[in-house]
């Protein structure tokens, strides 16, 4: 028994030596330190703010061919609500599309000649909204704003045109209140910060571990290690742990920033996040080491790591909903560790989910961790074939 304990202790000492060496090397690499410990947080602080679909004051261009009191009232309606901002005016037919092509406005409001005349005689007139629909979603929002304004304008028409008084022009209105459960004002920050944080921790973890072993191959020190009696699991553990610790540290700083700067709520428990993070990082770092052991140069390793990272990030549901993807792509994301960790972070922080709620994605991460580590240990060969 004592012998056995001694053996285990000795075995772990080897890992500790490897660990120490890796840490020394990491912290001695002066060029890398700011990239590891400063850049991610700058990115987090800046970029978490970038994600928003709010459509602020829409720049619009006016073509008022009528130029009457009534058309003027309508234009005032547009400019006074705060939804629209007039950026230009022209009076030439056919000019409108050029305005949109040149990105000088997102909408052109065209009021035809005889607008007022028509209104007085028939009680009905049309105006045209030319909307830049490059971004379909924004276009929809712009149309919605414009409709609201026109509806409100119509309601006031009897006051402006006495001859219309008495006619039933008040169209029935259905007032739709929208409300986001968990996130009533649909604050993007709360939603983006956990996601961006996951991506940053993943980037650092995967790239650093991905370059690590292959770098020793390039310098030639790997042979010197391979002729020692070090065991494969000791090697992988010693390579993995430093980055695991660093990544958890970065996650912690990120969570502090989330709390202190962004005031992201934390409805769940931190221990759930750390438990999941611990497993998640094994997947990421195991994958990094796997890439590192099967490649021949740092460049190759980075290309491959990058290839996966981009897929992981864009198919994580962080920027566009997973629900919007075709079914095959949705199924593909089930294998995406970033997707699961982003999902878990959001659920724990914003919905207060507990371990039971996140059992399924957590289980998938656990499975992936086992597979990745097994592959990494297995693919690392001390004797080349």
């Amino acid at each position: 028994m004592k012998e056995r304990i001694d053996k285990v202790r000795k075995s772990l000492t080897v890992v500790a030596h490897l660990l120490r060496k890796e840490f020394l090397q990491i912290f001695r690499n002066k060029g890398m330190l700011p990239i590891m410990f400063v850049m991610p947080f700058i990115q987090l602080i800046i970029l978490a703010n970038a994600a928003t679909f709010d459509v602020p004051e829409v720049p619009f261009h006016l073509q008022d061919f009528d130029r009457t009191a009534l058309s003027d009232r309508l234009v005032k309606r547009f400019t006074s609500t705060g939804y629209f901002k007039m950026t230009g005016e022209s009076f030439r037919q056919g000019n409108a599309i050029g305005v949109l092509t040149g990105n000088r406005a997102d909408m052109v409001l065209t009021i035809p000649k005889d607008f007022e005349q028509e209104m007085m005689t028939t009680g009905h007139a049309q105006v045209q909204l030319l909307i830049d629909a490059e971004d379909g979603f924004t276009a929809g929002v712009i149309q919605g704003y414009a409709n609201d304004i026109v509806t409100a304008f119509n309601r006031d028409l009897p006051e402006l045109l006495p001859q219309l008084a008495g006619t039933q022009i008040v169209q029935p209105v259905i007032d739709i209140q929208s409300r986001g459960w968990y996130n009533p004002e649909l604050v993007y920050i709360d939603y983006m910060v956990p996601g961006v944080l996951v991506v940053l921790v993943t980037l650092i973890g995967l790239f650093l571990s991905g370059m690590n072993v292959v770098r020793e191959k390039e310098i030639g020190t790997i042979d010197q290690i391979n002729v020692t009696p070090i065991r494969r699991w000791q090697f992988i553990t010693g390579k993995l742990l430093p980055f695991w610790i660093i990544a958890l540290g970065e996650l912690t700083v990120g969570l502090i920033i989330a709390r202190a700067i962004f005031h992201v709520p934390m409805l769940g428990h931190y221990y759930v996040i750390y438990l999941v993070a611990a497993i998640y990082l094994l997947v990421v770092l195991g994958m990094g080491l796997l890439i590192s052991t099967v490649t021949e140069s740092q460049q190759q390793a980075m290309f491959i790591a990058w290839f996966f990272i981009v897929i992981f990030v864009l198919l994580s549901g962080l920027f566009t909903p997973i629900q919007s993807m075709p079914h095959w792509a949705q199924n593909l994301t089930l294998a995406n560790p970033v997707r699961h960790f982003v999902d878990i972070m959001r659920r724990v922080m914003l919905k207060g989910s507990n371990l039971g709620d996140i059992a399924k994605p957590f289980g998938i991460l656990g499975l992936e961790a086992v597979v990745m580590l097994a592959l990494a240990v297995n693919r690392y060969r001390k004797t080349s074939e």
Binding site: F53, H124, L130, E134, D135, P172, V173, R179, W181, T320
Partner: protein, 368 residues
């Protein structure tokens, strides 16, 4: 000049000889564009919707029917009270719950205003926003139909015309964005290690003692990659056009010329990273970890730049992909010409020159 050509040729061989890397460089953009082109959308096709109808009248039923006949909304159950909303969201059974106030039809008739609520799962604000928009559209349609049916319409009618993308497909928005992102990152990555690798392998000394001038070395490093990257430009543009059906309403030659300029910018940025860093590791971290998220988030690829706060709008100006994106969308979707896009083109040009100049300068410092 002869020496310069020899140098370019050597660099070229260097790249093509490493089959594995070459395969990744040319295969990756194709694979990624195909994958993302299909997967990155923001239409939601199946909105699982619950109904909490406290009125049960003809109007609420008509609206409900209209909602579920559109094909986008899928009936996920009737709720009896507000209390049932929370568990439905927690379990992920529903994306949205539509609530009609009591006496809905009555109020609409009497006061001209009736209230309904669209409650969405706000833990994904993206989906929330889209779903709410869809629901609003269905209700507006309903009202419009009613108005058409009743007498003749009174008042002003705003006739919308959706330009460039009448069916509001997000694929038209995202594919150009993907093109920009992929070209940017692949190109910058290629050159970012070209010089640091020479530093590490010790061949730098050879270059330094050669009689090539710094400008020649820098340009010589960029030219072969420019040729290779152009292959990527051609495949990426072809995929966008033939596979995803993004129209090209403008001049194709202009599109290629602008793309060439853009990869030139990206390659120069890579070279600059290469000259200011001392190891491959740092160079790659800067060009990958440093560029990925800013390129995705601050280029207008997914999130519109005009939606951002002004400091971010200012920062977005230094992201080359931001300018290229305007150019690609301009040429492909709007049929814009250089007369419209000269500002963006000039910006990319200036950036390229700056990156190159900085590289040459930094490189010359090393010589002394």
């Amino acid at each position: 000049m002869k020496r310069f050509i020899a140098f370019v040729r050597k660099e070229f061989y260097h790249i093509v000889r490493d089959r594995r890397t070459a395969a990744i460089l040319f295969g990756m953009p194709i694979l990624q564009l195909l994958l993302f082109g299909y997967a990155i959308r923001n239409e939601v096709s199946e909105v699982r919707t619950g109904i909490l109808d406290m009125s049960h009248d003809t109007v609420t039923e008509a609206i409900t029917d209209k909602l579920f006949s559109s094909g986008t909304f899928i009936f996920a159950g009737n709720l009896q009270s507000e209390k049932e909303i929370a568990p439905a969201f927690a379990a992920g059974r529903m994306n949205e719950v539509v609530v009609f106030e009591p006496d809905f039809a009555g109020r609409l008739q009497k006061d001209g205003v009736a209230r309904m609520q669209v409650v969405t799962d706000g833990s994904d604000p993206n989906v929330s926003r889209i779903v709410t928009g869809y629901t609003q559209a269905v209700v507006s349609d309903y009202l419009a139909e009613q108005a058409d049916g009743s007498a003749r319409q009174v008042g002003v009618e705003a006739v919308p015309l959706m330009m460039f993308n009448p069916s509001l497909k997000s694929v038209y928005l995202f594919v150009p964005g993907l093109m920009a992102m992929i070209l940017m990152l692949v190109s910058a990555l290629m050159t970012s290690i070209s010089i640091t690798r020479e530093k590490e392998s010790g061949t730098m000394e050879l270059l330094l003692v050669s009689s090539l001038r710094p400008v020649q070395i820098i340009v010589g490093k960029v030219v072969p990659y420019l040729l290779l990257s152009f292959v990527n430009v051609v495949t990426v543009v072809s995929l966008a056009y033939f596979v995803f059906g993004v129209p090209c309403r403008g001049n194709v030659a202009l599109l290629f010329a602008e793309s060439l300029l853009f990869i030139m910018t990206a390659l120069s940025l890579g070279i600059m990273i290469s000259t200011i860093t001392n190891s491959q590791q740092v160079a790659m971290m800067v060009s990958l970890a440093g560029l990925l998220l800013p390129t995705v988030l601050l280029s207008g690829f997914i999130f519109p730049i005009h939606s951002m706060a002004w400091p971010l709008q200012v920062i977005s100006n230094i992201i080359p992909a931001r300018w290229y994106l305007v150019i690609v969308r301009g040429i492909m979707l709007k049929g814009a010409g250089i007369a419209v896009l000269w500002k963006e083109t000039l910006t990319l040009l200036v950036m390229t020159v700056l990156f190159m100049a900085a590289s040459v300068r930094k490189f010359s410092e090393r010589l002394q």
